[in-house]
Symmetry: C2
Subunit: 205 residues, 2 copies
DNA sequence: GTCTATACGCTGATAGAC
DNA sequence: GTCTATCAGCGTATAGAC
């Protein structure tokens, strides 16, 4: 295979990433419907015609991003599970990781895209299924075992684990939303959020 | 003034309410841009021409709803302030009230519309200003005095009050989002959320 | 691979009949 | 007050030049 073809493939992948990265920003801030291909093209600094050279449609770009976001969010839970420590320590590590990605990185875009994909009727049902089709594959459900483990060890309050997981992710999503609307908004430390789960500590006077 | 004119006024108001109520649902689920006038008309069971008889534009309908939502959310904070009790009790009452409106009533639509108005670049800047123009008038800032009061009384943890208020509303917004995407999702009790704020209780063995 | 020019459909908004 | 018919503008997606 001649060198040129390899080079072309590299360009192809680079352009695709460039477009996806730009699209993530635009989708996160405007929503799947309001985001225009021309917005994405402008953000990526290329013509809108070229976007269609790399992706079939606006929807396909969105789906690609939703998949990516879903994978990443589950990956974090799995890493947390391998983390060496008590369930509360696992959750703390996970929360710190997520908060950091919201505060600094591209993470926030991915969270906002997942929120849109799952909450808006404007996105086609097939897209929503990517995220919800398999409940077992959602971060909420992946987190439940850690919570149950913590309850068995007496570290975590004896509430419905589903309720606790829902509450936890409500928090995360809510913070992502706040951050996008108010750039300098102070984010809480992971410890503060852990208060929701933890059984009351005994305080020595 | 003849009877007919009064009757007409009644119809006018009723229709307006009918349209606003339908619009709230549609906007909440699809977002301001993706929501079509025809969607709203269908939901309200009247022609799209008639919608324009009562409102100048789609944007005006949206603005009206954002104002309404903003007023209501601040009203709750004010009521909480008048509630007789300690700061934590005030916040607990407020949280219960909000959670109830999310669980059962139209409240959830209003919260989702506020979220969209404040987070999406797709809504015109003027609309966002309705909500954010006067920081002093936002629920977040209205809640801060209660938090400070609680800190002075040693009931609430000594963290940056702004951070605590942001965290609190992140929670509320996150729960509204969860509820819309999963109708049967279990909502936490107010008490659980209060754990975030409260100084650790002493537990007697 | 990359761009510009163009077609087609959809939706917000208006006009005018009833 | 209420509806239907219609226009104008915009945005996705395509075709074809370079």
């Amino acid at each position: 295979m001649p060198r040129d073809e390899n080079k072309n493939l590299e360009i192809r992948d680079a352009r695709k990433e460039q477009i996806l990265s730009a699209a993530a920003k635009v989708f996160a801030r405007r929503g799947m419907v309001a985001a225009k291909i021309s917005d994405i093209a402008k953000e990526a600094q290329l013509s809108h015609g070229l976007v269609y050279h790399y992706f079939e449609s606006k929807e396909q770009i969105f789906v690609t991003l939703v998949k990516k976001a879903s994978d990443k969010s589950i990956e974090v839970v799995n890493e947390a599970n391998q983390y060496n420590g008590t369930p509360i320590q696992k959750l703390t590590w996970m929360t710190e990781t997520i908060l950091r990605s919201i505060a600094t990185g591209e993470g926030i875009y991915l969270y906002l895209i997942m929120i849109q994909a799952s909450t808006s009727d404007a996105v086609p049902a097939e897209v929503r299924d990517v995220l919800m089709g398999d409940n077992a594959n959602s971060p909420v459900f992946a987190t439940i075992p850690i919570i149950i483990e913590g309850q068995n060890e007496g570290e975590i309050v004896k509430e419905d684990p589903v309720k606790l997981a829902v509450t936890y992710y409500a928090f995360i999503q809510g913070l992502a939303i706040n951050k996008i609307q108010w750039k300098e908004c102070p984010l809480p430390e992971a410890k503060l959020i852990m208060n929701v789960f933890q059984t009351k500590q005994e305080v020595t006077k």
